[in-house]
Amino acid sequence: MNPIGAASAAAAALAAAGGLLGAALPGRARVLASGACTAALGAAGLAAGTAALRGGHWTASAPALLPLSGAHLAVDALSGLFMAVAGGVVLAVAVYGIGYAAGHGPHGTGSRTAQGTWPVFALTLLLVPAAASVSTFLLLWELMALTSLVLVLARHRGGGPAQRAAVRAAGLWYGVMTHFAFVLLLAGTGLFAAGAGGETFTALRAGAHALSPGTRGVVFVLAALAFATKAGAVPLHPWLPRAHPEAPSAVSALMSAAMVNLGVYGIVRLGFDLLGGGPRWWWLLVLGLGALSAVHGILQAAMASDLKRLLAYSTSENLGLALIGVGAAGLLADAGNRAPAALALAAALLHIVNHAAFKALLFCAAGSVLRATGLRDLDRMGGLRARMPATCAFFALAALGAVALPPGNGFLGEWLLLQSLVHGLAVPGVVTALVLPLAVAAIALSAGLAAAVFVKALGVAFFARPRSAPAGAAVESPPSMLAGMGLLAAACAALALVPGLLGDGLSRAVAAAGAGDGPPLAGGALTVRLDRLAAAMSPLWVACALAAAVAAVAVPARLLARRRRRGNARLWDCGGGAPTARMSYTATSFAEPLQRVFDDVLAPQQDVDVTPVRESAYLVERVRFRRSVPDRVEHRLYRPLLTAVSGVATAARHLATGSLHLYLGYGFFGLVALLLALAVQR
């Protein structure tokens, strides 16, 4: 039997078993059984994805499984890449989740509902990329949305009123936006299937060129907007910074590292593979969405002081970078320059892989902090390095990946992306000459800001002294959480040092998408060479060189310092008393200079409220200073929209006066009007 098929079947069986056990078993056994099944399921997905990346193919169809259409699955290298990413993340996060859920009692994360849904959600993450017909894809896509919604709502039970309200709002935003996207997707794919004369992907591929350009454009725009919503692209992102912080951290990790990727998968699969590429404006749309997300996401992350909200905005940024790659690939392929096109797509896919590894680790570490301190507010953390050394190390490793500097694992993807954009400049045309440099600028800006963001997250949360009692009382996480994070850390390190191992798989995935010619990358364990462009990179040597340079500077410094022993003395405090923890940098104060720089873009709201002592203008009793940086896109775009919708809804109430006769009358007159129309029309 085909190894991919066997692994997929095993994953499905494990999901069924895990779901049943998670819903049936009591207490701790439930968490253990569900988590173990999910971890095994992830391993199966990783195996299936790896086999597909090595060149395997698998197709299966079960005509009787779904009414009318049947279920169709097919795995090629492109599906395999996303299956492998999802499988790897599921494996590590499930191991992490066992310890995480066990610390939360029988409600919330450890409840029957959450533990029963968990394996099913994991399975849908694996199977969505394997779907090979419109109805199978939509079914799995919707199942993924519903199960993740249930998991986002898991913390509703057993929380305080404020938490319940926040979870409810997050669930509402997520549910509404994801279903808005589903409606778009349904319309787009339905139009496509109707025009192509079949709903399996094979039929769509065959029938795509028979569609008129207008129809193709409508299909692409509808589906791309739907997929961009799932990917958290600005301006369709508001669900993301709400749902990720409120969901249990293991769920956030899975959503942020595996689920949002499928938005990019959808655009690649539909745009390149099924529609066979398209005109320039499609890809400009994708590229524009990506650039906007990258800059807006990282700016908001720089302003956020909620750790998980920061990570969520960073997800928006990274998916934006991947979308830039996809858009650039389409643009270059349309211009006929297929070698950089393939490279841009490979860069986008590589960035997805890297992002999955470090973002899952970041969310897991944030979950550890949350579990140990109950805090998400960076301003109240601090001093966790001494109390949670392993978590701190993991967070630092992942943050290194996120800042896209060597030797972190995020570096190579962005380097490749920049390479492809710079080489793409050779393509003639005003649009490319204008757009590609702007995209390069957006990437550079977001990379620079990302450095500030993660310095802030790491430094403020883990270094200095604790700024609140819970942060001072933190203890290290249990072994299973550390084991899960360890797996992710190993993946991050491997991706950072020997990314060349992925080269052939990436080339196959790009070839499966049909975006460009020839393998864009080649490489062994040590070097990544760009086949069509004269460039090469050896991350391992870069890392070694960096390590050597650091050692060259640090070792003599240490030696010198040891020679002159320092005496312990009290710090000179200008007579002001010993410095307290409240004087140290907080996330807000760290971000303040950046906020000044981007004042016009961010439009922060400041509010100073001075209460003087009675009958005196000079003596002040209290000064209250409040500042918030609202998400401007959300503020300007969604607030008016929501007001309009609720206005229409209020007006519509006058249709429902409470009179039964009126309600019956609506039905009656509707029926009579319909019949009249029928009678007249004949």
Partner: protein, 234 residues
């Protein structure tokens, strides 16, 4: 049975069927309305029996007997029982005086003359709408198809314009009679099992409505549907 006789009898039964629906709109006494409804049940059973006899499908006769028992016997009986049930005192100690108008449909939303006119228009409409269906296969049975449709529309009209809950129950049952008639005339009889299922459904609906009516009387002292307006959410 000769074709002419069959056609004439079928037309007679369908005429009685339609007439009963119109008379329901005309009458005001709820007791008389129920009586007319029972007569309509007999007419429907006659349609079924005629179809069965003409086509030699004897199981249709069993269906006809079932229809007669249910629609001319059981359902009118249940509605009548609800009509004559003594009103429950709303609260102990609060003695509720029998509302005289409860037995009458005193003020329908559309008066009787306009109702009869509307029934005529609705019948015209159903003839116009059903024309393409009749042209498909013009047999005596299909020719009578618009009658069933007209009864459905008249029943719906009753449901919309009458205030008393029991008058509305009768309107609902008229609609169901009409649907059954359309099924018979268009498909020359439905299988026994389908008819059984539909009848059982209707029976349950009437039982539920009867309980609701009694409860409404207990709670509000009457079954005027307008009283329910206060139940809305805002």
């Amino acid at each position: 049975m000769g074709d002419t006789l069959y056609t004439q009898l079928l037309d007679l039964a369908c005429g009685a069927f339609l007439l009963a629906a119109v008379v329901v709109l005309w009458l005001r006494q709820l007791a008389s309305i129920v009586r007319v409804f029972a007569l309509q049940g007999v007419a429907l059973a006659a349609v079924a029996a005629l179809l069965g006899a003409h086509e030699g499908r004897w199981e249709l006769l069993a269906v006809a007997v079932g229809i007669a028992l249910l629609r001319a016997g059981l359902l009118p009986h249940l509605v009548r029982r609800a009509l004559s049930a003594p009103a429950w005192p709303a609260h102990p100690g609060h003695h509720y005086e029998e509302d005289v108008s409860e037995a009458r449909e005193t003020r329908p939303l559309v008066n009787v003359a306009a109702s009869l006119l509307s029934a005529a228009l609705l019948t015209l409409l159903s003839y116009a709408v059903a024309r393409p269906l009749v042209e498909l296969n013009p047999t005596p049975a299909t020719r009578a198809l618009p009658v069933g449709l007209a009864v459905v529309l008249t029943g719906f009209f009753t449901l919309v314009t009458r205030r008393r809950a029991l008058a509305q129950v009768v309107g609902f049952l008229l609609m169901d009679n009409g649907i059954t008639a359309v099924a018979f005339l268009a498909a020359s009889g439905v299988p026994l099992i389908v008819e059984l299922g539909v009848s059982f459904d209707v029976l349950l609906a009437v039982l539920v409505l009867r309980i609701l009516t009694t409860r409404m009387r207990a709670a509000f002292g009457g079954t005027g549907i307008d009283d329910l307006r206060e139940l809305r959410e805002w």
